[in-house]
């Protein structure tokens, strides 16, 4: 029986910091992305439009943010010099991370209403194929002596928000791989197999940083060609949904295997693995809300995934298509 203790952020006061970032918005020109959101931009927008983080819509909001931060510092027993506001821009494929902004709170004259990105764009915003993840944190600026129920490690975040910027050339999600006879042989698949999904070897579905192409979805090359010209027909859409479900099944099955190997995973809070494949699957059913109800809903769905995966996946499928969508298959 495992005795591992995993952090579930039991700190009083962090809600205040999170509340500031829950209201934040990332703006790219006229486009706006809410926290936890993903936006598909044109290449022009991605490479050229001004980007800024909006922490407050007006002076009233900004003043409220200052109050929340003061409350958070008070509850945690921290000084303004103990916490920094950090904005990072990350190119997930090229592993390039640039610090867009990093200041201790005591170095700020006031909590800013907005933070414009510098004219020299971070490297992630110079490469439209791989995309850019913007992460915003309030985090500890220094190390403390470990104390129960208190954050102490330098870098521990008290509030966090993420935005994913992508372009149509980069795409979102998995890219189908052509399934040829050679690859069937290599993967030990029977000759009539038309599609197959798997998690890339060595990848854990609980890793919080998903490697690109971590989910490999193979589809027969002839079928893929047919799909390409019929993607918008009812049957084409159904096949795409099925490919997605195949990928979801692969993630679910590996989740069960990893839980079986480490039983502490079954009892963990799923938000501990935010960013992982397992967490992403749960989010699709339970949503991304960061309030207590949202956290509880994700934990409930995660338990369902672990204990009753078929039911979980049936619920997931219902998010992909309504009963009407499925009935429409018979209309073509």
């Amino acid at each position: 029986m495992s005795t591992e203790t995993r952090t579930i952020r039991p700190y009083t006061g962090v809600d205040h910091f999170q509340a500031v970032l829950d209201r934040s918005i990332l703006a790219i020109g006229e486009r706006q992305v809410e926290g936890g959101g993903r936006v598909a931009l044109t290449v022009d927008e991605y490479l050229n439009y001004p980007v800024w983080l909006r922490l407050a819509g007006d002076e009233h909001d900004r003043h409220e943010n200052e109050g929340r931060i003061a409350d958070g510092l008070g509850d945690l027993g921290l000084a303004t010099s103990d916490v920094e506001l950090v904005v990072l821009a990350s190119a997930p494929r090229l592993k390039m991370v640039d610090v867009v902004f990093a200041r201790r709170l005591d170095e700020l004259e006031e909590v800013p209403a907005s933070l414009p990105f510098p004219r020299e764009r971070p490297r992630a915003l110079q490469g439209p194929v791989g995309g850019c993840d913007v992460r915003v944190y309030f985090c500890l600026a220094r190390q403390f002596q470990p104390r129960p129920l208190h954050p102490w490690r330098k870098g521990t975040w008290l509030g966090k928000q993420e935005y994913q910027l992508r372009t149509d050339v980069g795409g979102v999600g998995f890219t189908p791989v052509r399934l040829t006879d050679e690859i069937r042989g290599d993967l030990d698949l029977d000759p009539q197999v038309t599609k197959y999904a798997r998690i890339d070897e060595g990848v854990s579905v609980f890793d919080v940083d998903i490697p690109p192409n971590a989910v490999e979805v193979y589809i027969d090359e002839g079928l893929l060609d047919r799909l390409a010209v019929a993607a918008h027909t009812a049957i084409g859409k159904q096949l795409q949904r099925q490919l997605f479900l195949d990928a979801a099944w692969a993630i679910a099955l590996q989740t069960l295997a990893e839980v079986a190997a480490d039983d502490s995973l079954a009892h963990a809070a799923v938000d501990e693995f935010r960013g992982s494949l397992a967490h992403g699957l749960v989010e699709m059913v339970a949503g991304r809300s960061l309030d207590a109800e949202g956290v509880r809903a994700r934990d409930d769905r995660y338990r369902q995934l672990v204990k009753d995966p078929a039911r979980f996946l049936a619920n997931l499928e219902s998010r992909l298509a309504s009963r009407r969508d499925v009935m429409d298959l018979f209309e073509d």
């Binding site: 991370v97 985090c139 870098g155 042989g185």
Partner: protein, 244 residues
Amino acid sequence: MRYPTISLSATDDLVKALSAGHSPAIGPAVSWVGAGDDIDLAALDATIESMKAAWLRFLGSDDGGKPEEFEGIVAGDLHLALRDLPVETLDDPGFWRYVAVAKLWWFIEDREEGPIARGNHMKYVDGLHPAECVPLRMFLRAQAIESGDDYSLASSMRQATDFWRSHIIRVRTGSAPPLARSFTRLQADKQMPTSPELRPFARRVNRLWSNVVLDRLDEDEADELMNELYETRDRSGSDDGDEE
């Protein structure tokens, strides 16, 4: 800036021909992307030539080294030749296919001889799999541990393919050089066996990322963290250990 790329389908055709022992013309398959002046690849060409010479010396050495060791030895040279190219170029998988097929095939065909013989060659050359595509994974390995022009950590371990692929390049640690360098130094020194020690250890590092902005650690702080995790590691094969 214009830079060379090769499409996925052309790459597949070229690699099939190359691995069958033919010498297909690569030039017609190259598409130049972008506008303005052509990118200057003189540094890359010079590096490739010196890598080829080093490869011949490596093969002839008494050590009888393996291709995976050579990959670490020259990863820094490749990074040095590419690191100042525009991000737009490095971001394009088509450029990495060009580097793989037009510049580095002589090494890739030996390095991934087994999969290539089975027809499973694309992920080593397609530019889409950063932890697999040979030139891109070499670039990312070197980028993760570069310190000025010092890349010695990239070759600090023999037979460490799994370490680099699973515990550095594939995970967020690969984007935090102080942490990646510290982890590499620790593993080079301690040589934790993959199982039961290294994998659970690396899993603890990965899980810390979900609560701690490890990008904010400097070299000393990263060393302190690694030592702390090492001293409290579990050797039973589980990933037990209190992270906070």
